[in-house]
């Protein structure tokens, strides 16, 4: 047996468990993909320069997902004014997606204006860790990935199969992220546009001592707010 064979055998004996795929993490580049959608074949790079809300749902023609799609359609135009595109996904066929979108239009009077990925082979779902085997091995959970114009993952939300998402929170999250980028601030609990934002804590003693005389609204040296 050559040394290379020995090395391979040793490595094989250490990998009895499948190696977990590297899933997206905040601040990392969003995994690239090309997929069939209800708007044709689309690549993630096609969205470069725009924010993207990539979200998965468990299955077409199910009630909670239908309410979510109606809700996402309801915020689509508001998102677009913020430079954000929606991109849905489930492990269903293009035909199923098309039939469901037409059904929503017919039964609820709502047009689905965004593309839906037909991820029949689970390629994108696997890449993004959208399947939670503890819940279902065949359906995607209710995941949301917010990807910025440079292609970086900026936020992730995971909801279980039983619980529909709050699209107002997704709008709020986009507003908060864009406010952070524009003004270099953080946003406090339950922040909404118009509220004061948090000034990042000082990183030096000199800066901390100066903070209270800075004209900012400070409760203490580490806790200052300002209007944005």
């Amino acid at each position: 047996m050559s040394s290379q064979d020995v090395s391979s055998t040793l490595n094989a004996s250490h990998t009895t468990q499948p190696t977990p795929a590297t899933l997206p993490r905040l601040g990392m580049a969003a995994p690239l993909f090309e997929a069939v959608t209800t708007h044709g074949r689309i690549r993630l790079e096609d969205f470069r320069g725009s924010w993207v809300v990539l979200f998965s749902h468990p299955a077409d023609f199910t009630p909670v997902c239908t309410t979510e799609f109606i809700a996402f359609a309801g915020i689509a135009s508001e998102l677009r004014t913020r430079g954000v595109e929606l991109l849905g996904l489930s492990i269903d066929s293009p035909t199923s997606h098309i039939a469901w979108a037409l059904n929503i239009k017919q039964k609820f009077g709502i047009e689905i204006p965004f593309p839906i990925i037909a991820d029949s082979n689970k390629e994108v779902a696997t890449l993004y860790g959208m399947v939670s085997p503890g819940e279902s091995k065949t359906e995607t959970s209710r995941c949301v990935f917010v990807i910025d114009p440079q292609g970086t993952v900026r936020a992730m939300i995971y909801y279980p199969l039983t619980t529909g998402r709050n699209t107002e929170e997704i709008l709020r999250l986009i507003d908060a992220l864009q406010t952070t980028d524009k003004h270099g601030v953080a946003t406090p609990a339950n922040w909404k546009p118009g509220d004061k934002a948090i000034v990042p804590p000082p990183s030096t003693l000199e800066e901390a001592e100066g903070r209270l005389q800075s004209g900012l609204e400070c409760t203490d040296w580490y806790f200052c707010k300002r209007t944005v």
């Binding site: 708007h39 044709g40 074949r41 689309i42 690549r43 790079e45 096609d46 969205f47 320069g49 725009s50 677009r80 595109e85």
Partner: protein, 73 residues
């Protein structure tokens, strides 16, 4: 393909993109003139490049002879 229907006919969005390409243009200019989302235009132009309806020179998309005749149909 999103630009060519199952009957082999050009879709409405493809026609809008080709019409917006009277002069060589960037994808952003096509999106603005055709009032289509940029991601859709990028994907559509890629398809139409493969179908040789458009060509790419110096980062500008333009109509090929096939693209011009497809618009007249």
């Amino acid at each position: 393909m999103a630009c060519i229907s199952s009957k082999g006919e050009m879709t409405e969005s493809a026609r809008k993109m080709l019409t917006a390409l009277e002069a060589p243009s960037t994808a952003e200019e096509v999106a603005s003139r055709a009032s289509l989302p940029l991601f859709r235009v990028r994907a559509g132009l890629r398809e139409m490049l493969a179908a040789e309806l458009v060509e790419l020179k110096d980062d500008l998309y333009g109509l090929t002879a096939s693209g011009r005749s497809a618009l007249l149909r």
